[in-house]
Assembly symmetry: C2
Homo-oligomer: 339 residues x 2
DNA sequence: GTATATTTTGCATTCGAAGTCATTATTAAG
DNA sequence: CTTAATAATGACTTCGAATGCAAAATATAC
């Protein structure tokens, strides 16, 4: 029942026989304090169990030491990995992660309200949909943003992206070299910018090879939706020989559906490629050929850029693009072109 | 270059022709303000784009509106789901999530330091290892904690757990009914409390059925480690007929290893069970028989308990245990008992 | 109409550390 | 040993909202 009051810098000051300013200075780096007082203060601080109150510090310094990470969660198996790495990198730079889930009932506006009031140092938005209007709000509130895998028109915000073009083109090249002619694209949901980008690139890459009007089915990045998209297509079309999927999870769904409900062998009868390089692509039952998103570099860049923008807000927005690496699995083979 | 100053309650007060207190009261619920002033204030606040500064509020109210979630990440596919649900539930109660990853170089102590200085409202620790010493620190700092899937000796902290005993016993019952006699347990890493608990329960459940000295291999909850543990065991023992795994991901690894490198069919030659109920257990290539952790209820309870503790810190710690649900897959069958 | 109860209001203070500035102690240079 | 330069220190103010309290305004009862 003892409502222990917090130990403040004043308490320490009094006991150590110095001023509050002195105590404060001891807990800041690069401030001149004599060795004698520093030791005195540190000793009594330790005795009393004193630690500077971060909230009070935030109020006066106007830096919260917190970065918001906005996540459109669940959608993709790779996000947990991204989040974990971002957290790690930010911690190293002494920034905490305040997490926001965008897919909850509460929309973006709701999240933004919170971001303003919390005086965050910056924001990293993972594949969330931001239009220029939102970006302008950040400008107005003078909070740096870095978009992850999302570019915004006119380069008005910094972003770190996977080079989807390079990745998709590489996959299409491989398929084309195997003489595939009957393609199916299974895209992620139209609300997702990443999904749209990958889908358009696939269509463009195929067009370059001379394949126009490639059919597209839409899923929502989940396993189930991959299966469903494939069976939907099969219900009214002759089987394709190659399927290009918007992400790995759907690709795995396609493989299972093809094998189970259509008796197709992968890769003998059907080639399948995905995107992302999640752990499951290495599982023996799938061994998916896909592109690994360079998560390490991307998260590092995102944090670097963000910190730069925090330090020098007047710097122009940056764009950094990283190429993914091909994972050569076992789901691509020569086309079975029947005639 | 215009360093726009933040709009404060004083600014609004001056323009609206009221006192700062009045402005403050408008933005708190359950405070008496006349309709007239409320409207005036709200109008000018809107004009100026004023929003209360959360940091200043935290300082005076001593509530940060933030809850720390400590995650031992990566280890388990189910954590992202847990995190996402916790975030959602906490947002509904107007608490933000400050995320900490325990497996980074920075250890628990480092995280705790931050927790004290941030004056957090509470902490939810997901399967992190907390000893009584750590719990006592929380008591000293008067910060409520809820442990997720982790009990601490002497009920000194609240926790929400999956009923691993019921789950494991149910799985063992099923295997026993299929007349299995040669078991192998593949446990998660010894640093993990959940892993240890599941492993011990499996051993106890088997002992109840008369099987003593059941062999145990250790993995680290990953797919690879599941495969490796199984092949290690097979290298020097006759094949078991049933494998009980510490989680789903390792179970999937075992299935792949058994099929690929030992030509065993699942479930005809080998029965495999897991634990957690991650999405991948439904994938057609596996269809794992497992126990689904009741994540919905567990996260709800965790948040409920935490908020109760925040509201009434003097209340005793609570323990809530939820039973998992059996997922009847296709990886368990009659034992192939050769003699 | 007055007297009493109730709601609104503003003043002044508080939360806890950090920054400004003038003053004092210490060191280096001559 | 004096003078100049530098380092260390404390008093006071600041950040921005919330709150206890007394005064003022409004509502209710008689």
């Amino acid at each position: 029942m003892t409502k222990t009051k917090r130990v403040t810098s004043y308490d320490v000051a009094k006991i150590a026989g110095v001023s509050q300013s002195a105590v404060s200075r001891v807990f800041q780096k690069g401030r001149s304090v004599s060795k004698k007082t520093r030791e005195k203060v540190l000793a009594t601080a330790n005795d009393l169990g004193y630690q500077p109150n971060a909230i009070a510090r935030m109020l006066i310094t106007k830096r919260s030491g917190m970065v918001a990470v906005i996540l459109s969660s669940r959608v993709n198996l790779i996000y947990p990995e991204v989040l974990s790495l971002l957290n790690k990198r930010l911690s190293e730079k002494d920034e905490r992660v305040l997490l926001f889930n965008l897919d909850d009932a509460a929309g973006l506006d709701d999240i933004l309200e919170h971001i303003w009031t919390f005086q965050l140092d910056g924001v990293i938005a993972i594949a969330a949909h931001f239009d220029n209007e939102s970006i302008n709000k950040f400008k107005k509130h003078q909070i740096p943003v870095v978009l992850y895998n999302r570019r915004v028109a006119g380069h008005s915000a910094s972003s770190v992206c996977c080079n989807h073009e390079q990745g998709i083109f590489e996959l299409v090249d491989i398929l084309d070299n195997f003489d595939h002619k009957n393609y199916l694209v299974i895209s992620g949901p139209t609300e997702s910018d990443v999904a749209l980008e990958r889908c358009e690139l696939a269509i463009r890459a195929l067009a370059n090879k001379g394949y126009k009007n490639v059919p597209v089915q839409y899923g929502d990045f989940t396993y189930k939706s991959g299966r469903h998209a494939f069976s939907e297509y099969m219900a009214s079309h002759p089987p394709p020989t190659a399927v290009i999927c918007g992400n790995d999870t759907m690709a795995i769904g396609v493989i299972d559906e093809a094998r189970k409900n259509f008796g197709l062998r992968v890769p003998e009868d059907l080639s399948v490629v995905g995107f992302d390089g999640v752990n499951a692509v290495f599982w023996h039952s799938y061994q998916l050929t896909t592109i690994k998103q360079p998560v390490e570099q991307m998260t590092k860049s995102a944090v670097d850029i963000l910190l730069e923008q925090i330090a020098s807000p007047e710097n122009p927005p940056q764009l950094r693009v990283w190429s993914g690496a091909l994972i050569e699995g076992n789901t691509v083979g020569p086309a079975r072109n029947e005639k």
